[in-house]
Symmetry: C5
Subunit: 354 residues, 5 copies
């Protein structure tokens, strides 16, 4: 989980707009996949250089250039030149810590967002930066590392009759973002079920490291909130945007996307408050248990300490302890013990400790 | 309580607008009840197919089609075709986890909301999704499962002279929503009385699983808040809406409905803060009790441990312990015990522990 | 304290606008008092029926109809007819749980608010619903039960030269509301002084049921906040209202009223935060005291347990324990005890526990 | 510290605008000081009656009437008549509990604010009400009791060339308010340094009544916030005001005043959060210390209780306990003690309690 | 860390606009460095007096006057005269406690902000005030003490072809602010990594003074928030400003700057909530450990106290204790011990304490 900001030592004082990769490099090789299609034909290939990919763009078909690996300044510089992108924006795209952001100019829409997925092996949330450059009939998507996030979208494109087969980038961009938000909800379902587990663990008082688990849960929700809040803003701006790059037909879908982001955000807040309640009940149960432990201790100690004292008395070596010489002295001792013991038991019963 | 979001695995990456039922299926059969009336006549029947119901719609009477069971995509698809409903909206209606939502187009108003009821058997809140499609003189209501939520409304329709007997859907829609909000207030009264019970339980220090009960209470309020907050928004939008489907006469009722939703929301917030206070007083009382327990322990231990030590001394086998040979040695021992015991009692009295 | 919402079972699904009394009936008989005056004359009487009261209204004098008891639907229905009041509003007036509300139509202004008073016998806040119907030169006030809330206003009217002797209802309505808000401030002064008492109780660590008292205090403030917040809104609306029923001369007074409501609200919030602080310091003091108790226990136990062990050793019956046969064995024992005891005392002194 | 609202019994139901003094009377005698000056001359005197002071007002010079003691309704009534002041406003000026407030009419600006000072003898914040009536070339300031709050301003006036020597009241009013806000910052510096002291006290774990001190700190900040928040509002209104009584030249100063009030408010909030953090760390340290105490107790008890048990065994009087007759029985006993003791020490070492 | 406001005793009541230095003087000597450049040439020097520096300003080149040491009123007075600066603003620049602020007049833009750096030797955040006076082709920057904050910017200027080599102050001002914000992010990375360390310390339960460290962390974040919040406001105003001193080309950079400030602020809030969570888990872990300690104590005490009691019984000196005379008495005793001990072990096992 890339929770904390990376050190920016490298960048400090550098000329703004310098293309320096910030983050941990996730992949060695920059991989470029291209899908080019119109309503009838579809071409899918992997190309070696960004120039090749850019050369394929033409007016008669929709071109989706999918780039994995954003650590190479040269690739971004070439994209910048081809699409006439502000250098500050390119800088943001290379900073894997950047918050979700929407930007537009006369030719393109730009989206920076976060892909999240749950790694079952490590039990942790993994984050990948997604940048989109949406021109009229070209879409460039940039991710840190290869992944299958958008396989479902690719599958849809492969079907001839899908709505995606239009030569306009807005619907494809929407489809990618929708797919991303769906994966957030997926992730939340994952978190939801572990919150459910945590609940039984807490209420039944079993399970170890419960505090730590609660803490982890909050940290994860915190992280998701950090991702979703600016995305909500972004989607709202997209909805209100009057860019000619977004067709009227697509707006309904964007409203739906916005609704989903709102739901995601609401869920996160609800989960937050559930986890907060869990934390409080957990603490309250710990206190209750502490009381119970202390009651046991107190009862044992308060009953046996006086009794031991009495036994101690008759273990003394005074020459003249009359009771010791009584015929029924030992019986008398047990009687005394019984009376005192019973008295204390009644006392604790009255106090409702037993 | 359907508190946590269902897993969306099925939907992820699916084409938006695909009619896939999301949720737990609550009923096997789709049941369709129709009430058709004008100011003079009333017809009430159960039909087998959605087509039959739709065929009954005519201009001279008001038609209320009540559908129980929303898991069948075909039924929704046919409604979609008949009323020209956006496919994304149909998708929302089939997702039993959707948040309350108002939507409108040229022909219809759409409302998605939640019916809540208290199941006395399980002691839990049950939730059912309600979707309304309101055309000019037709209203389609969709619920997950058969129920008696709206029996009172049906009763009113059966009376000839009720205001409901008008050939316009807006008042009927209002009546259903009003009935729903009334049931929220009912539910809150239920919660209110269990909060009252909880209060005595806490203040008198009896009752078990108090932490857990407080937690449950908060979880329920959390759940209701999640339902009521978007409803407040929705009703406000309805109030401000200029749709021709809402007649001027009905607006006063919608304002009243809005007032009720506001009251519902305020109550929830008040209950929240009462439960929060209860939690805090409960924790504070636990601490006080822990102190009391420790005081008892400390008094017992602090008094008897020194006394036992003294008894221990005279139980030693040194050849030459002068006290042991004193004539009044044993008496002297008891005197010592009395002095030390009294001294400690006075000490604790001064500390106000006794 | 009518803190929790009453069950609405009776109302659920009932036709909106049905006049059903909701609440606990506070008085058997509906009592109707009328004050009718102009600048010169004053008539004061109690009438038997609402019709009699309504018949007295005339253009040349100001009529104040004071109704105690709102459980009789007939009385309200007649008021409704006479003043042409929306049936939903009448319904609100009969619901003693309704939140403060301002409403207006062409002829009248309507105010629903809460009268609060401190019952010294029970030590509790009592609440009474106040509804006002203000026409041009008639004011109807409705309360749940007879009371002396407005005696001061009546006294002022009885004086010939008071500003109240004007034939216009707005100033009388203001005077009643001002009197009500003054009583809130009175109540807050009462609460303030019990908060002051609570403070000494907490800081000096004496007094019983402190947690419970803090809790009660918060509950009362919560209740007042619930009453004052919507009143603030209401007064603000009144201030901004352009109703011809409010004369320019009265507006200055309404601004003053608003200021007082704002002050009331601010005080409540300040008290809230003071009580919150009290709760926290109380908990913190409980913890400190727990530590002190444990220190005492630990010191006693830690000193005497080792000593008792030593006494135990020399109480053993081994045949050959050399110390037992020493001439100064017993003295040696006491020396040992003194050394160990002193060592432990020094240890605890170092730890700053003594 | 006049923290809690005074009882308003006297006022309740009284005719609004009645001039009744509310508060504790701080001075016997009303003292009236007048400063009258133009750019060249200055007259300073104490007069006996308010009439004398009012008679001095003239167009050619600036007159500052400084009144100490606001309990005399006659003085206020005369001011009211002379400056044509709304009676409700006069009432507010006589209520020493009134919140800061700005008011204006055609002729004058009115400010009600609070002077705060730190009384080193009592260690408490003292509050004095300040009311300003600013006409074109006359300023009346009212305080509860004589004080030296504005001595610095008087000193500046006494210098011939100061900007204050202008025949316009706005700059003088500003100078007084600026002086007041400066004293707030002074007070905050005082509070800041006692917060600093509290910090060392808490972190080093020494000092007594720490909870109480934290509580006092919060109460004082609460009180200041109550004073500063409405003042912020007031200053903002003053800044946005288009009153002809405020010259263009003075606006820059008022903006500066507003900035200072904002800073004051920010400091208060920062101090609040620091004190909140202190409270939490203090509680957390108490818990840590409780743990430490309990560890000591547990280690002592857990080591010596088993050992004492063993000593007890060999103190038994069974006729046939073989160990007692062993030649090296006593040595064996010590060996046993050493082994068990060491075992327990290792156990606690492993648990990291030692 | 200059966390608390300095005492303003010196200033109180002083004429507003008096140039009095407020703060701790950080340097003896005022040091003045000048960089003067156009696209081709660059001159860099240190001058002795402010007059020399001001005399260098000319229209054909950009002049950056870098002043270290702001305690000399004369320097500021001369700047004030040369650039026609409002005296209140000069006062603010000399107050090292002033909050970040943007101001503008017809000729210049003024920025007051805070430079922050992490002093590795003391482990503390150090703060330095930065004031900028930006005219058309002159920029004056004032700092409290010499430092290397802007070395990177100077390096860029030294390169002939950098964008900074323009004869317009807006880009240089931006570059300085950007450099400052970069250093905030740097600082946050520092804090982030110590939060990370704290996390392991807490979760693994080792490390000392954890409460204190958490408290320090919060205090530092509090301090940064105090700096960044007004800066966010300031940058937003700068962005919306229509000053002709900011060229259209520079606006994109300012938006980028604003984005960075927003990110800084978001990080601070996220860190706050992480530290809050850490505090809570830490407290919760302390409570868990207290329970564990008490369990150990209780188990030891509850097992050995009854056993010791039994040993005590058979150590009594009653003449007639039958068991003592049994042949297998001692064996019987051990049997009894074994049974009781086992019983208690089973009891605690059942309670899940073992």
């Amino acid at each position: 989980m890339a929770r904390f900001i990376k050190k920016m030592g490298l960048r400090k004082g550098a000329k703004p707009g310098s293309l320096i990769f910030v983050g941990e490099q996730q992949t060695d090789q920059v991989v470029i996949r291209v899908m080019q299609y119109d309503s009838k034909s579809l071409e899918e290939m992997e190309v070696d250089t960004i120039e090749q990919a850019l050369a394929m763009i033409n007016d008669r078909s929709m071109t989706w250039i999918n780039i994995f690996g954003i650590h190479d300044p040269e690739v971004l510089a070439k994209l910048g030149t081809r699409f006439d992108i502000d250098v500050l924006l390119l800088e943001d795209m290379m900073n894997t810590d950047h918050r979700p952001k929407l930007s537009k100019d006369d030719n393109n829409l730009y989206v920076i967002a976060k892909l999240l997925s749950f790694n079952r092996d490590t039990g942790q949330i993994e984050s990948d930066q997604l940048s989109l450059i949406a021109g009229k009939n070209v879409l460039v998507s940039l991710q840190e590392k290869p992944g299958t996030h958008f396989e479902a979208v690719r599958e849809r494109i492969r079907k001839t009759k899908d709505r995606l087969r239009i030569i306009y980038s807005d619907y494809l961009a929407y489809a990618l973002l929708d797919c991303m938000v769906d994966s957030y909800l997926d992730l939340l379902a994952e978190i939801g079920s572990s919150i459910d587990n945590l609940e039984s663990e807490i209420l039944e008082g079993k399970g170890k490291f419960t505090s730590q688990k609660i803490y982890r849960q909050r940290t994860e929700l915190n992280f998701m909130r950090q991702v979703v809040l600016p995305l909500k803003e972004l989607t709202f701006d997209l909805l209100k945007s009057d860019s000619i790059l977004i067709r009227k037909e697509t707006r309904g879908f964007i409203r739906d996307l916005y609704d989903h982001v709102v739901i995601t955000h609401e869920r996160i807040e609800v989960y937050f408050s559930i986890v907060a309640d869990q934390k409080e009940i957990y603490n309250s149960l710990i206190s209750s248990r502490a009381n119970e432990i202390m009651k046991v201790l107190t009862i044992f100690a308060a009953i046996f300490i006086p009794l031991t004292f009495i036994a101690g008395i008759y273990g003394m070596n005074f020459e003249n302890i009359p009771e010791l010489k009584w015929t029924y002295g030992y019986l008398y001792f047990w009687g005394l013990i019984a009376v005192i013991g019973a008295g204390l038991l009644i006392y604790f019963k009255r106090k409702k400790w037993l």
